[in-house]
Amino acid sequence: MSIARLRTLVALELTQRIRSVAWYVMLGIFALLLIGATVLAFTAFRAFASNGAGSGIYSTVVYIVLLLAVLVSPTLSGNAVNGDRDAATLAPVQVTLATTGEIILGKFLAAWITGLAFAVVAAPFMLLATAAGGVSGWVVVVSLVVLIVEIGVVAAIGVGLSGLVARPLFSVAATYLVVAALTVGTLLAFGLGGASIQSQATTYTRDLSYPGDAPACGMWQPDSGTYLDCGRERPPAPECGEWRASTYTVPRFDYVWWLLAANPFVILADATPTTLDPTYGGPVDLFGSIKAGVRQAQIAPELERRFDQCDPETFGGDAYLVDRTPYDEILATTAPSWFVGLLVQLVLAVGLLLGAWARTRTPARRLPPGTRIA
């Protein structure tokens, strides 16, 4: 592995990209999109944030960069190797002293740097967001590191598939499919999987009732619409009624929550430290909201609940409402999954790059069907 040759290869890729007009048009459109999104985010988050709207705006900008990188990267990297082979520019590099490893790594680094250009264009918007206040330094550091790694993962998937699949059109499509599987696919699998695994939940209720069917005193009389005073008489003691059971089905997202672990948007949310709003207890940014949502899915639903009017302990005025666990408790009691998801992605990315390396090695023994070496 020669650093000079690797640098030459990366520079070669980047020079060709820099000299294409389409590339600047794309970055321009992206900048326009970011302007719109930032303006909207400023308006939206100013309305409900007690300690500065910056966190919400910042996380929105980062998510848009990730979205764009995920959407555009496959076209930038998905034909890196086979596109060169089609243009007959791969073999002239392969006959030089540049090794296959250097060629593949150079293409991956170039695709990564290209993807990072989106983050660079977005940098002023991120700065603007932090200026609105409330963005913690750790959030910036962690979210940017994760963003950079995710852009690299998509670039690696694209370069890897472009070395494994013979035709550029198919490898770009395959890259889109893999990226879609990670982003939309995991979400669909989570939603459908959780909804189809169902459990029976039962609610037991026991009411207080009054003996007899004569209108008892000391109570509101629904028939006459008056209150019947008992006078000196003691009101009749209520009696505990029978337990009544009602059953219903609940989706079991706690069995499938791990499906979301490899989702790039979830990884970004789950890895980034969360700040809770001091006044209403909720997360201050999109990262936190998504993290709380995903973490909540880990918590198994209560399959048996009792509402006993005879027991003042369990039957308070808001007994029906205590269902909701506070955010800090959710975050504290559930497991972070971002490193598992990231590991899965890295294994996939490295595996595809190694596959591309094996397929591109020269002197070639087996060629992908339907291809020429030069």
Partner: protein
Amino acid sequence: MGDADVVVADVRRSFGTVAAVRGASLEARTGRVTGLVGPNGSGKTTLMLMLASLLAPDAGEIRVAGIDPVAEPQRVRALLGWMPDSLGAWGSLTARETIVVTGRLYGMSRGDAQGRASALLDEVGLGPLQGAPARILSRGQKQRLGLARALVHEPRVLLLDEPASGLDPQARVELRVLLRRLAAEGRTILISSHVLSELEEVVDDAVFLVAGETVAADRVAAAGRRERPWRIRLADAATSGEPPLARIAAALGRPATDLEIDRGEILVRIGADEEALRALRALIADGLPVVEFAAATGRLEHTFLDLGRGEAP
């Protein structure tokens, strides 16, 4: 026999069920230009790719400067310049940048690569175009850029796949001069082409590849001796009342049906050199004003066409 820098021994390579090279053996000697001649689809490019260390043979052995390109591709690549038949150029890079990048990939320093680029581009006649992006170059200019790219690291062995296609006559002459000079410097040059007239002028040796197999030397020699058309032109063909065909036939003592007229000239089939000598003497002795007496096809072309017919020697 001099040293052979390229040795191919019974090499085979197939793609799936298609056998592209079915048994190629050749030697290209140091300081000489060896032509690889064969019809389209005869396996020339596949053989070149194997020599260029891009494709591994299924069987057989290859040695480039004594090194096995399958076992040690890196060492072979340092000694080898390859010019592919497909013109792959980085469209947005200038001619100069293309050479500099290639030089850098061969491990040259930036300064060396820059200097080499200037010298090479002048040598192949692209000096005035060195700042032009490769995509605006004509086919012939790209071809010359490809040649410059193959020469950047001063390789000991040169593999040129159809180097003259797309070149104008002037550029072909320049290519010929350049190749002769490179060979004189002690390099081994293997050049493939199916434009035989142009190979004829530059090669020292020729290897014939037919249907994936190199043709044995004795069969080549036999094909070269077979009779071929000779062209005879008389100075007074237009002014003399007598038709030239009849006069020549009479002088050679052959029936007029043996001869053909082609654009005012006469074609006669003549075998080996001794027979040609006898025929020329007979024409002169008869007092015919012969101004042209030459083989109508080149030796390579003749041999090639003869082999292509698939006749046994």
